[in-house]
Amino acid sequence: MKYQTQKIAQLYFTVALALFAIQVLGGLLAGWIYVAPNTLSEILPFNIVRMLHTNSLIVWLILGFMGAAYFLLPEEAEREIHSPMLAYVQLAILVFGTLGVVVTYVFNLFEGNWLLGKEGREFLEQPLWVKIGIVVAALIFLYNVTMTVLQGRKTAITNVLLLGLWGLALLFLFAFYNPENLGLDKMYWWYVVHLWVEGVWELIMASILAYLMLKLTGVDREIVEKWLYVIVATALFSGILGTGHHYYWIGTPGYWQWIGSIFSSLEVIPFFGMMAFAFVMVWKGRRDHPNKAALLWSLGCATLAFFGAGVWGFLHTLHGVNYYTHGTQITAAHGHLAFFGAYVALNLAIFTYAFPILKNRDPYNQVLNMASFWLMAGGMCFMTFVLTFAGTVQTHLQRVMGEGFMDTQDQIEIFYLMRFGAGLAVVIGALVFIYAIFVPRREVISTDATVPAE
């Protein structure tokens, strides 16, 4: 660790991993409710479990991004973080808000209250006071990182990362605007949800991936930067108007079907670019970095993001296809692999890279960590496949044959059973990952066959 303030990242990553554990356990419970629908239906209904599963995901991913920014900015900008104290204040606000959200969701204490009650808008359910807290924390964060960069060295990685983080915070402001008209409500809602995951988050992803490639492969910065700019340009070009693929059936004019279909089809390009980038860098790289686990996660991230976000996204993005598949298990399949590949794996990659450095445990192979990669990635791919089959059958029975929703659900139960098994593998993988990050102190496996393994 070259700069003392990089240490801030450790607490962010730790909180993020705690929420990750809650998220996957919530997911496992939700998966079981699909198999046995009456499970906990009185105490913890499905809609609350799902809310916890998705909200905790988003919060821990953002905490991870923020931690990553605190970790990599000092090295890139070649100076300490502007104010470590503010960074911890910011984290405290976010943790307090998150706890408030959990309590409000689970016990529904302030139903209907304009300030304290949950707002009931998917993913943006947070009570108003929490939303305000998020904005305050985001302002503190942006002030802190921007000051760090402005006073230090500016690189393509810091520029793109800051652009992404500013975009993330500014687009969240649309969460405060909730028009009466349901069509308009959805239109602005996507300004947050879509323009995050298929817009500015991709900038954050590309810049963190670029940083990891720079460190792990030792390829020249100049080459990394050229790739980064091309990826970012194609991401914004396709992603912004790609929002149109959410405007097919919400009451917006018909031309959105063509805008959405054409631009969102191109969204596969930046994800292909990131995958090509990661592999080309590894082939070109001269450095044999000992942190093989971080490299595995980086390559896994780029590959699974291409398939989950790119290929599985394209699968149902054309409006002629989406007319039939909209809101079926096809969407769930895409959602799971896209989020896991693009953003979960990215965060776990930077955690895997950073933790040995933060804890002074370099060099460090992290074999257990690699095992957790295969458990999680394997489980998630299996889940994606079974949900895709479930969605295909569902689309045919429900949308083509016109059978009722619940009749269809009865017929795809077998897939839900298999999905639960896949989810279990992911949860075990996640717990192994957390153990591998925090517990083992020494673990270097020599590639030299004459030396016995420790």
């Binding site: 091309v230 194609t234 396709s238 004019p253 031309y255 279909s261 054409i262 191109l266 390009i269």
Partner: protein, 186 residues
């Protein structure tokens, strides 16, 4: 892009920045996909599309083709002039190119208002959904192009003018594809 290539020898190198070509290729993909979709939907309703097409002003379209190609020529001459160090002539060329862009938009606006007067909107017929979408999107690029031409007339390095001209030719090229497919194809 390699250092061994001398500045005057442009064989094997792209004029302008890599990023402008990323943009140009992306734009061509979008317009290509839109025209492809137009043709695919048309194949299912040729009669309806032909009838709708008769409401278009082909003369205005032809005029705009001439206007935009002339504008492209002016931009190309501006680049040549700037490369020869004639900054005044280069600025004049860029000004003419931008002005012809404004003429293009003026003709386009007359077309749109005539359509609106006939009560033709984006949902009148699939033909018009594409008509408004593709020509409107193209017109937005003409607006952007005019702004860019103005900017490089002010910051008039060879590299800047090269990038702007490459973009402007793309806008030209796209129109030359739109005009036959949407206005003329029988």
């Amino acid at each position: 892009m390699d250092a061994e290539v001398s500045p005057t020898d442009t064989t094997g190198t792209l004029p302008g920045d890599l990023m402008i070509w990323v943009l140009i290729v992306s734009e061509l993909l979008v317009f290509g996909a839109a025209l492809g979709a137009f043709l695919a939907v048309r194949a299912g309703d040729v009669g309806g599309f032909l009838e709708a097409q008769d409401h278009l002003d082909r003369t205005a379209g032809a005029l705009n083709t001439i206007v935009l190609l002339t504008s492209g020529l002016a931009a190309a001459l501006a680049l040549r002039a700037r490369e020869a160090g004639l900054r005044g002539r280069a600025r004049l060329g860029l000004g003419v190119a931008a002005l012809l862009g404004v003429v293009f938009l003026w003709v386009k606006a007359l077309e749109y208002s005539a359509k609106a007067a006939e009560g033709i909107g984006t949902d009148t017929h699939p033909f018009f959904t594409f008509y408004y979408l593709v020509t409107g999107f193209h017109a937005a690029h003409v607006v952007a192009g005019i702004v860019v031409l103005g900017l490089v007339a002010w910051r008039d390095s060879v590299a800047n003018i090269e990038n702007a001209t490459a973009f402007w030719h793309m806008v030209d090229l796209v129109w030359v594809l739109i005009f036959p497919v949407i206005y003329l194809l029988r």
